[in-house]
Symmetry: C2
Subunit: 401 residues, 2 copies
């Protein structure tokens, strides 16, 4: 029998009616002779509600205790889903992360899976059970409950698929990966397939459909990954190894990251290791840094800009205040009304001209951009928020997205 | 350092303010140099809410999955309480039943504790931690999460106290054990101490302050058991081995069990094993049977009455319907407007006259009773519900309760 790992997010299990609905979908798969492992997230907004509760008690709750708290969310979902599946007359067993043998390191709130002992899961499948596993959680070598951080349930599902040598299906509220976020560009096309490399660029550049870590893991272990809409007959999008079709296309899609804070440090004395010192200071405080650009020195000074997430604003301002004591010449600007727009395509590796076509489009339409960075398969720009819609339309037309 | 096991029920942790309040109470104990192990129940009505959720999905949810579901309730409480204690600057670690080494049998929803491996708790205490443990839950030999059934957190606390050779303090919303339930008799007196035997009679005859199993366990392992009110300076009630003071008192207290259904089977043919067959049938369906009384045979028939809980009504009626096919002469009556009133006192062992004093009081006041049963240290009557208040007052006066 073929085994499939299928994962449902929080909105798919947000109430008992939806839980019954997906139980129905799952047993249909069992009926056609498939072995099914289901991974679920916490119901609806449970995780956020639990964090709010903890923050009412302490401004700085212990990560160890937060993991103890949050892991209950998925435990509630797995038991309810298992009750729903059993109620339809099927054999079903739910497992917590600990029981499923999902071992992680000791890093609370963003643990990494180190190993999965799939023996128990295999035994249960062999006995004809549907196995329902709590996403987002695991157990550390010292026996502590850990959680995997943002999008952790996707990572759980892909890791299980890797160990069970099964394909992985991620059910979500959109029916696949689109060339452009349909909320921003309603004419966007759904992609039938996309390469791991491109999906990674999509995910890391703001597409919210899948988490970067899950895609990396799928790529590493060659797990075929499907993104589909719950309870629909849509074929979704398959994320897989690159193939010839994909190479032929110049641009696969475009992502827009609106959670973007641009920081410019002007008049930094150009001497010694000033710039690298500044970035070490940011790194020491775990500030997320995305695009960095620097101009050539002029009159002994350089200007440097970088982007980060908007929720880092407070911490960044504090670090810059300290910098000003050391470098009083620095004049800094923080700008949050910018967005990052990236075009992604594995075809860029073998075909040139994408960059020039993009630059031309921007300049012909009098659109300014602040920064530009490129990777092998993507080009990203920071632009003014009010140019966003215009640029999306221009690029989408240009590359038939 | 002396170790204490202290247990808080659901109302003591029903919101974040109350959790912070008990965290304050707990660290005061640490300040005076005590080793503290805390056992907590689920917040407020969480357990009931989770059961309602499961019943929305299935009328007959799997006990295994219900345990998976319910055990999250205590896990939320322990993490929040631990966050509150750490926020006050103290070392604290929360442990689930599994992590605390609480081993049970495989009976889901009413598991019995078979063993506690206290090594982890000891280590944590030795490192200066306050240890917060989830009540009501454990782990079976096959690694399944189990729950202990009604009042399970009390049992967890007493079992831990037995293993750690510590006294056990049960914090609740009343400040101790009273001679009579103060809600029914406002002049009732609080008892400073009571013997295990008497407390067992109290608990099994309807006093809700402690569960029977917890008292049995305390008795078996000689655990001094205190019942106290949360965040008060009251000394509460100590439940301990019998002493001379206790023996001197004839009657310690009185309990009233209002959840009482009296079933009378009249005209049962008096031959062979009819009566024992009837009770086997009830036992096979796990019907809770309390008082049984039977009259001497007359004209070849006997009448038999028993009491049970009101929620057994439906099942009992079904069993009797089947009986009628076998014994068509039987005429049955079910009566739920009765209550059971018990007087309890260890002094009864050595002193006589209690029964006659009670009978006299009832007859002088024209009060009918349906059944009477006696144990070494108690006498119970079923009386009409409308006589309840009158009898309570009469008996309380008679024995200065």
């Amino acid at each position: 029998m073929n085994t499939y790992v299928i994962k449902y997010g929080g909105t798919s299990v947000e109430n008992t009616d939806k839980i019954k609905q997906i139980a129905n979908d799952i047993v249909k798969r069992k009926d056609i002779g498939e072995n099914i492992v289901v991974v679920v997230s916490a119901m609806g907004k449970t995780t956020n509600e639990l964090i709010v509760l903890a923050n009412k008690i302490s401004k700085n709750p212990s990560p160890r205790e937060i993991d103890m708290l949050l892991s209950t969310g998925e435990q509630v979902s797995i038991s309810l889903l298992s009750i729903a599946i059993r109620d339809l007359g099927y054999k079903c067993v739910s497992l917590t992360g600990v029981q499923a043998g999902i071992e992680t390191d000791e890093t609370h709130r963003r643990a990494r899976i180190s190993k999965i002992n799939a023996e128990k899961i295999d035994n249960l499948l062999n006995k004809g059970n549907i196995v329902v596993i709590a996403g987002f959680q695991g157990v550390s070598p010292s026996g502590e409950i850990t959680t995997l951080g943002r999008g952790g349930s996707d990572t759980t599902a892909v890791s299980l698929a890797a160990v069970l040598e099964a394909p992985c299906e991620i059910y979500t509220d959109v029916d696949g990966v689109y060339t452009v976020d349909p909320k921003l560009y309603p004419y966007a096309k759904k992609l039938d397939k996309i390469s791991y490399e491109e999906m990674l660029e999509f995910a890391s550049r703001g597409a919210k459909v899948l988490e970067t870590r899950a895609v990396e893991m799928a790529h590493k272990y060659h797990v075929p990954l499907y993104v589909k809409k719950s309870s629909s007959n849509s074929t979704g999008t398959l994320i897989k190894e690159m193939d010839e079709d994909m190479e032929r296309k110049l641009i696969t899609g475009m992502t827009i990251d609106e959670d973007c804070l641009m920081v410019s440090l002007n008049l930094v004395p150009f001497e010694g290791k000033n710039i690298s010192n500044i970035f070490s200071k940011l790194a020491n405080e775990n500030i997320y840094i995305d695009m960095i650009s620097q101009t050539a020195p002029y009159n002994g000074f350089v200007n440097v800009s970088f982007t980060t997430r908007e929720d880092e604003k407070f911490k960044v301002r504090q670090i810059i205040s300290n910098l000003l004591e050391e470098f009083p010449t620095i004049d800094y600007i923080m700008e949050s009304s910018v967005v990052k727009l990236s075009v992604v395509g594995i075809g860029m590796i073998s075909q040139s001209g994408v960059a020039s076509a993009l630059f031309e489009t921007l300049s012909n339409n009098n659109i300014e951009f602040y920064q530009v960075t490129t990777s092998e398969i993507s080009i990203s720009y920071t632009i003014n928020e009010y140019d966003k819609e215009k640029v999306i339309k221009l690029f989408a037309k240009k590359f038939s997205l």
